[in-house]
């Protein structure tokens, strides 16, 4: 039998909340699947739609953007911009035919190691039945 499909996930984590939250998950030795490679960005508001499209183009099976909770942004309001932008990106991705579940946004604070763990576990569970993402993938 073929090996079980392991989705590749790119996670854009803001430096102040979500990356710190994922550090806390590590410090607390919580366990989650190794499918995610994190990319630390300064703020979820700095994640351009192009980053997301680029990740799918390069063959990511799922993309996660995670930032501070609304109202708690280290940069005052960056995550509000992220939220609006991401709502549009989600619609656009759906419009071009990508399964909407492949793109997620979450709010994980620096104190929420457990939540980060759950977000990753759930995301992997959602992506596994979908199989590899080929819709936007382009051979390099």
């Amino acid at each position: 039998m073929a090996e079980e499909f392991e989705p590749k996930i790119v996670a854009f984590l803001c430096k102040w909340c979500s990356s710190a939250g994922s550090d806390l998950a590590g410090v607390s030795r919580m366990q989650y699947p190794p499918n995610v490679v994190p990319i630390q960005v300064m703020c979820s508001g700095s994640v351009s739609p192009l980053y997301i499209f680029n990740a799918f183009k390069k063959g990511a099976d799922g993309v996660l953007v995670s930032g501070c909770h609304p109202g708690d942004c280290h940069y005052i309001e960056g995550n509000y911009y992220a939220r609006r932008r991401i709502a549009l990106v989600k619609e656009l991705l759906e419009f071009v035919g990508l399964e909407p579940e492949r793109f997620q946004m979450s709010w994980v604070s620096a104190a929420e190691g457990t939540k980060y763990t759950e977000v990753i576990k759930d995301f992997v569970d959602v992506l596994k039945p979908l199989g590899p993402q080929s819709h936007l993938r382009r051979e390099q």
């Binding site: 998950a25 590590g26 989650y32 699947p33 960005v41 300064m42 980053y51 680029n54 990740a55 932008r85």
Partner: protein
């Protein structure tokens, strides 16, 4: 010229090497295009580890390095300094977090190793496009803001002012002094609380470096460490400086309101001075009770005021202050009576809280220090003290221990016995927590010398019968129920953050913990710092604590603030936004989204103010033409990192 990159993979003992095959990671990186050197070592952060990095940079002529190790929050500075020591720019060093975000969260060695490789390659691709940068120096506004005029705020303000820095001390009530000025005596020395606090209050009022703003509240904070701007609302007192403190106004004022200083045990007029030693000595007209700010409604105070100090037209005022550092010291309130109905608090006059009992004991209190119960003004002969009222009760009240109640209850019982020799004091307790210098000895004294009876157990019911307060409880040490006909019951109520602490946290952009106290930056190593640079905590705003601890933390916060104020310039990260002029169309979108107003248009092109820019990158995600990006996190770098993350 081709850049030469070095990679250093840390074992962190077995913290990383236990789950990640570090040799394999180093081997893989050695074969990676552009990597000229890769090695692994047991502890990169150790002195020999750092030496290896420095030597490799020099010997292999490396342009930039990646250290694959723990979170950048821990050792980024260590390795950047090592890079600097070896002669390359500190921003030519990046960290690949393969511990917190990899080895500690996975068990499968093969998969964790592959992931660690990806994370490291991603950091390599990033660092190869890093610019060499120098920190940006910004001048510091050498003044401090202290919020809260209790003992913690007073101490912090005095420490900073005595070091030579100007301090703006903001207090929302009409006088400084906080809760400490309400106390009778302090444990374990039985010092008179007012006698030891008032000299400090006077020093504040006379200090040439302290600008005292009472009856004021901070409404807005903008800026950043070293250069904050505060908007402070000065509420109108309706009494001008012409006031001669003759007290004629309070004599004629027809309105009686609950007196906050005596916690409702007495009344005060609508126009009042909070207490005799109030600083500043100023009358305040409280409009919540005043029938109307015009002669037609009442105006009796204005009629009798010879110097004409009553000004009904006084308006609220917004004062703007520039400061470099902030100390938050807004203290605590006691748990509310509305939440403690089970002990009859708020229902029976002779059930009171600890602060009210302080006022009963105090020489400046409603009874001049005689212990008389509120209902009939008789001397209570049987007094029951109940500890942990609201504390250590995760089911319905606060889960935490309020820390000071064991000690002040012992003090209450002792002082009661000193005043009522033939009285009996009972204390219901769960545990006695008397950690602190001379604290345990003090508790022993209450039982041995003053005959206070400690009963280990909780009170199950309190009700009134025949003019007595019936207290039903259990003594768990002898396993029997206890019934006491008390004349007075004193509840050692839980401490909680003072009212409005949540709003304060939002105004100053600091975090709150699960109990509503302000969260410190690190529970062990940064107990005085908030998560926001330049904002520090003093006293019970951070957690329940007693006077010496609050004073110590205040001095700590002052020292931290002085650490900022004493510098000519502060350095701020040079990872700021940069505009590619010929791509910019002057559409203004980045100007609109910048949370710091750091971008402006000059001659139709965006220009970034490096000092104001915090490097969040909101502009770069907004720009349609990729004309603006943050240095060392450019879209090109992110694309390379995505490649590394997905590839393989």
């Amino acid at each position: 010229m081709k850049k030469r990159t070095g990679v250093f993979v840390c074992h962190c003992g077995i913290n990383i090497a236990g789950t990640v095959d570090v040799k394999k990671v180093a081997d893989k990186l050695n074969k990676h295009a552009g990597v000229d050197h890769a090695e692994d070592y047991v502890y990169m952060c150790s002195d020999p580890g750092q030496k290896r990095i420095e030597e490799a940079i020099k010997e292999k002529n490396l342009d930039n390095i990646v250290v694959a190790c723990c979170s950048p929050n821990l050792h980024e500075t260590t390795f950047r300094n090592a890079a600097k020591a070896a002669g390359i720019n500190e921003f030519q060093c990046e960290i690949a977090n393969i511990r917190e975000q990899c080895s500690w969260v996975h068990k499968d060695m093969d998969k964790a190793t592959v992931k660690a490789e990806k994370i490291t390659v991603s950091a390599v691709e990033r660092v190869r496009q890093n610019e060499s940068l120098e920190p940006i120096g910004i001048p510091v506004t050498r003044r401090a803001l202290v919020v809260g005029g209790g003992i913690a705020g007073i101490q912090a303000a005095l420490d900073m002012a005595n070091t030579g820095f100007e301090v703006v001390l903001v207090e929302r009530s009409p006088s400084i002094g906080g809760h400490m000025i309400q106390l009778s005596e302090t444990f374990p020395t039985l010092d008179c609380s007012q006698c030891i606090l008032t000299p400090k209050m006077v020093e504040v009022s006379k200090h040439p470096k302290i600008k005292l703003m009472v009856y004021s509240e901070v409404q807005e904070i903008t800026g950043y460490v070293g250069n904050f701007k505060a908007k402070i609302l000065k509420k109108p007192t309706f009494v001008t400086d012409a006031c001669t403190l003759c007290d004629e106004c309070t004599r004629v004022c027809p309105v009686v309101q609950s007196n906050e200083f005596d916690l409702g045990l007495t009344g005060r007029k609508a126009i009042y001075i909070p207490f005799a030693q109030a600083i500043p000595a100023l009358y305040t007209l409280d409009i919540t009770g005043c029938p109307g700010l015009m002669p037609i409604a009442c105006g009796k105070c204005a009629d009798v005021c010879d110097p004409g100090a009553i000004d009904f037209d006084m308006k609220p005022e917004i004062v703007e202050e520039e400061i470099g550092a902030i100390v938050l010291a807004t203290g605590y309130d006691l748990y509310g009576k509305e939440e403690m109905a089970e002990y009859g608090y708020g229902k029976y006059a002779d059930v009171m809280d600890g602060l009210q009992f302080e006022r009963l004991l105090s020489a400046s209190g409603p009874t001049q220090g005689k212990v008389l119960r509120p209902s009939d003004h008789k001397e209570p002969k049987e007094v029951v003290f109940i500890q942990c009222a609201g504390s250590r009760d995760p089911e319905i009240h606060c889960a935490y221990c309020s820390k000071i109640c064991c000690m002040y209850t012992a003090k209450h019982a002792m002082l009661y016995k000193h005043k009522v020799h033939d009285g009996q004091a009972y204390i219901f307790y769960i545990d006695i927590r008397s950690g602190g210098k001379n604290y345990e000895e003090f508790v022993q004294r209450t039982t041995e010398e003053d005959g206070v009876l400690y009963l280990r157990g909780k009170v199950s019911k309190i009700f009134e019968e025949n003019g007595k307060i019936k207290v039903w409880g259990t003594d768990t040490l002898i396993g029997k129920p206890v019934e006491i006909d008390a004349d007075l019951v004193v509840l050692a109520m839980a401490m909680r953050p003072s009212e409005g602490a949540d709003k304060l946290a939002r105004t100053f952009k600091v975090a709150v913990d699960k109990d509503g106290f302000l969260a410190e930056a690190h529970p062990k190593l940064k107990p005085v710092e908030s998560v926001t640079a330049g904002i520090f905590y003093a006293g019970a705003v951070q957690a329940p604590k007693d006077i010496p601890e609050a004073v110590a933390q205040a001095s700590g916060a002052a020292a931290k603030a002085i650490g900022i104020l004493s510098q000519e310039r502060l350095f701020h990260s040079p990872m700021v936004a940069k505009v590619v002029k010929n791509l910019c169309t002057g559409c203004n979108m980045c100007v609109d989204v910048c949370p710091y107003d750091a971008i402006s248009l000059e001659d139709g092109k965006a220009v970034v103010n490096d000092v104001l820019c915090e490097g969040c990158g909101t502009c770069s995600a907004t720009c349609l033409r990729a004309a603006i990006s943050v240095k060392n996190v450019t879209p090109q770098q992110i694309y390379e990192m995505i490649d590394a993350s997905v590839g393989g």
